[in-house]
């Protein structure tokens, strides 16, 4: 698989990153100035920092079914995930997943029954946790392998021989993460910045607090912002010829009293034609396939502007005043509140790349 970031405009190197990499004798380094040294100054983390890529490759249908275990893929698609970002995990080992499974299930058991101690290594009856690596999803060498977590439990009134049912699942991933950032982390840290969970909220928070206590990391909610939603709308539309969109649905909210919610559904063929008219310039101008495959933020903006002005012509309502809250197509759906559903595994990588970028943007250091 060719590496998609070749055509992508790189975010400027980040000075925190540079600073952390340099091996200085100073122990104060990490909590000394974040831009102190004149010599390695350049950019400051607080301000320049990472930015959303302004250009990215079109959704290529990656044939990941060949590389990734189909059982795992089946778990990842067609399910709505609530997203979070995570700061890098400390002392996380992909080789210790069995141990983590035992520890997490003991932790859940202990938290569920407050005031009862639970043996970590012993056999538990209540919850069974399984950690597994999703091999083949990582796009570059810098990306840590994706980790899938499943929690099984036997229903309260089940028969003895009834199999345990999956009651919660979640994953941590990093796809095409900013290599400068990833390489800048000292040894002992693993960055899996994107977390998705699906299942009971109680279990999600238990899993999170176990991770916090075990790997000294922090979880924060990851919303999919306006720009990212527009990116997704354009990227998905771009795939229409390969895989039918069926519809492009956008939900906008307008800040009026009472709040007005607008569901704007576009015929996939119309959307495709509009997109092509936006893309025409570039496709005509360039022979280079590499160049033709990449999409700029300007094109996305023009596309969405086209949709907005079409709406204005009909309803005299300017959507620019409102917020894009949700985008959905047959390929997937994404909500501002940070929920995502990927329905087609072929376009998973690019979507996860975008989301990884969003998650890395939230990193505090």
């Amino acid at each position: 698989m060719e590496r998609p970031q070749n055509s992508v405009v790189r975010t400027p190197p980040n000075s925190t990153a540079v600073q952390r990499r340099s091996k200085s004798k100073s122990y104060r380094q990490s909590y000394r100035s974040c831009l102190g040294a004149a010599s390695r100054l350049g950019l400051t983390p607080g301000l320049t920092a990472r930015r959303l890529n302004s250009s990215r490759r079109a959704l290529k249908s990656h044939i990941i079914t060949e590389k990734v275990n189909p059982d795992h893929l089946a778990l990842l698609v067609k399910r709505e995930w609530r997203l979070s970002y995570i700061t890098p995990l400390h002392q996380f080992r992909h080789t210790q997943l069995k141990r983590y499974s035992r520890q997490l299930s003991a932790f859940i058991a202990a938290e569920k029954q407050q005031g009862v101690a639970v043996e970590v290594e012993g056999s538990q009856s209540g919850f069974r946790v399984s950690f597994s690596v999703v091999q083949g999803l990582a796009a570059t060498d810098d990306d840590a392998e994706t980790v899938l977590i499943q929690i099984f439990s036997r229903p309260v009134f089940a028969k003895q021989d009834e199999p345990q049912k999956s009651v919660w699942s979640g994953w941590l991933t990093c796809i095409n993460g900013n290599p400068e950032y990833l390489q800048s982390l000292p040894k002992g840290f693993t960055s899996l910045p994107l977390f998705g969970g699906s299942g009971a909220e109680v279990l999600t928070s238990l899993v999170k607090s176990w991770f916090q206590q075990t790997f000294d990391c922090c979880f924060g909610p990851l919303e999919i912002n306006h720009t990212s939603l527009q990116w997704l709308a354009a990227l998905w539309t771009n795939c229409h010829t390969e895989s039918n969109l069926q519809h492009l649905k956008m939900i906008w909210t307008l800040p009026v009293v009472p709040p007005l919610q607008i569901t704007y559904t576009i015929n996939p063929q119309d959307a495709w034609e509009l997109w092509m008219s936006v893309r025409k310039d570039r496709l005509e101008k360039t022979e280079d396939e590499e160049e033709a495959g990449s999409i700029d933020i300007e094109e996305v903006m023009r596309f969405v502007q086209g949709l907005k002005s079409h709406f204005y012509r009909h309803f005299r309502l300017d959507l620019s005043a409102g917020n894009l809250n949700q985008v959905s197509t047959a390929l997937g759906s994404a909500k501002f509140s940070g929920k995502i559903k990927i329905s087609n595994s072929r376009y998973m990588i690019t979507t996860l790349t975008l989301l990884t970028e969003c998650a890395l943007l939230k990193m505090p250091v």
Partner: protein, 734 residues
Amino acid sequence: MAATINMSDSERSSPNDQSVSSRSSNRSLRVAEKERRKNEAEDPFVLALKYFSDVEAGTPVYGNDDFERNLVLVEKVAYSRGLPPEAISIMLEFAMSLRMGSAPCVRVLKCLIPATVVPQEAVVRAVVWLGVGKIPISTQVLFIKWVLTIFDMIDTKDQLRAIYGFIFSYVTEENLCPYICHLLYLLTRKESVRVFRVRKLLELQSKLGRQPFLLHLLSLYKVFCPELVTLSIPSRMRSGFRNHISPWKSALIAVQKRNGSQIASSMGLAFTTMDKTSSRKRKHCHLEFPALRPVVNKEAPTDQSSGRKMVPLVQLHSFAELLENMHRIELPAQMGSLLGSSLALQYLDCVQDESALLRLNFWLGYTLHEEFLFCGDGGATQNSEEALQFLNKLLSAHHFLQEGFSSSEAFLYKFLNVWDGSLLRPQILGLLSNIPVVPSSQIGRLLSEPLMQLFFTSSLFFKCGLMECLNSMLLKWLTWHSVYALEDDLDISLNSHTSINMTLSGFKDSVMELVRFVGRLASVGLQIEGCHSLFLSFVLDFYETVCDTFLKYGLPLVVMPPSGVFYPALLATDPISVDRLAYIMHRYKVNLTSAKAQEKQTKQAFHISRQTFHEFNHYVVVMVSCLWNSKMFQPGLDVQLGEELLLKSNVPQFWTSFDLIHHPAFMSYAVDFHQKCWPGKKDMDLSSIKHSKPWSWYLEYLFTQGYDGLKQFAQSNISRQLTAGDGQGDTQQR
């Protein structure tokens, strides 16, 4: 008889009191006591003890007058002065061996009030008797309660720890279990936590249900071996073990009071694992410091760490313990927890592990971002009380470590752009004053721009607060410089020990940029606020720092205040501002002269520009001619008004209107002086003070009023003879 007992008793116990505290002297003490016992064989207390140590097994209790008499005697001593270690051993042995049956057991146990310490051997023997004799269960409980009560008085505990397994075996005794658990809790060390013990306790738990005593012991096991057991203690069970002091409480307190000994008994024994104070849950709960927890997944033991046992930070409760274990402290699972405890902060100051600090910065940065930047629903504004406490704790950590964390710095640069200038102002300004040196090229974008916007749109109090903050920031930068700069290597980079490899000239540029920025703020601020004297005072604070950069902090840089600051201070209506200005000018002079002297001496190439000297001289000329020589509005000075305009104003002798007599700030002193000088004079002529004699008296008078700044200024800039004459100030300063 009682009287003699008491007397002899007090005689013998008095040497005891002096050597109470030290354990090592106990042995010699006991030897000495033995000898004394030989000499004082007739002492009835000694005889009584002898009776109990020698009494034969099977001797009847009832109707035994000897026994009754001797026990009363021992009790009397016990309740009045407490029993010496020897006596404790004898009586405990007597009781637990059941030599006279179980009847006297309780009575003896109740009177075991130690005067000083309890010998460990006695306790160990008694524990062994537990397993041998047929002691009634209630008496066994009483015994364990006694051990718990006097636990802190047991001289050493190594043998008790050695029989940990033996003591542990009693947990299966249902009645003893709660007390045994408590005792085990006190004795547990990391090496005593074993899988089979964990299993045993869990088995008991499944039998007895969720019992607090089991949980507390298990939670200690979790502290030592989180990989073996996990649990979560509900808040209602967090209170800890109960103490069992009641049977001995009054006697023990009385004895301790009387002996004046401060040996702490287990009265205050509290359960000190992590208990969360705030149980109030809210949706976005970022502002809590994580609890100190040990790491679950330890690194595979390397050669280095296998040799020494690591101590979890949670287990350390005092600074002494911290020092003792400094070399083998294990960092907690969450670095953020270090900020929550003052003891841990001491350790943080020594942490050299870069990734540990990065973990801390991740957590801190995350918390600040989530609470103050990302939080859509108001965040900090809604929970200002918690935010306040959090930031105060962070600030005190900064102060303790004498520097800020890089994540809070990065946060501030973002936050300043969205801050309204009033939310948590003292805290934010406090954090801001802790940021390390910012390169001069960045100051504008990171600090000046957002701060200027805030400054010009905020209240007077914000302006004062910001001025104070910038002053303290400058002070910290200068202090940092004076600590790390290499004296003989002024122009090359600063000491490599620090992380900032900033060159001296880079540092100078930063300081200059900051001082100029503050100069601009101050000039405009004074104008906006009508030269408010409160604000002026903060501005002068800042320049008191600036004028001394060379002498106090060894930075070869002198920056003069802009005229927007100089004139408001010179023409201020309160004498204190004028005095402080004079003091500042005096310090400038001292700094400039010594810089010049040093430049000549060492021929070193740091150069204070002619422009600075020029500005300084100019200011001094203005000050002298305005305050001393009554030559205001003369050509050549900054303040010039048209001749006609001045004549039109009808102010007689307008050129004198800002001398020390007519200056609005000093007029009242002049009047006062006039009255004192010529008490009889009806019509007041202030100009008469200007004559050479009264003028020098007047100056003396002003100086005695506490205007040391003026005094120092006068001494360094004005020669008296000339003042008497036409008053030409000595201001040549090239």
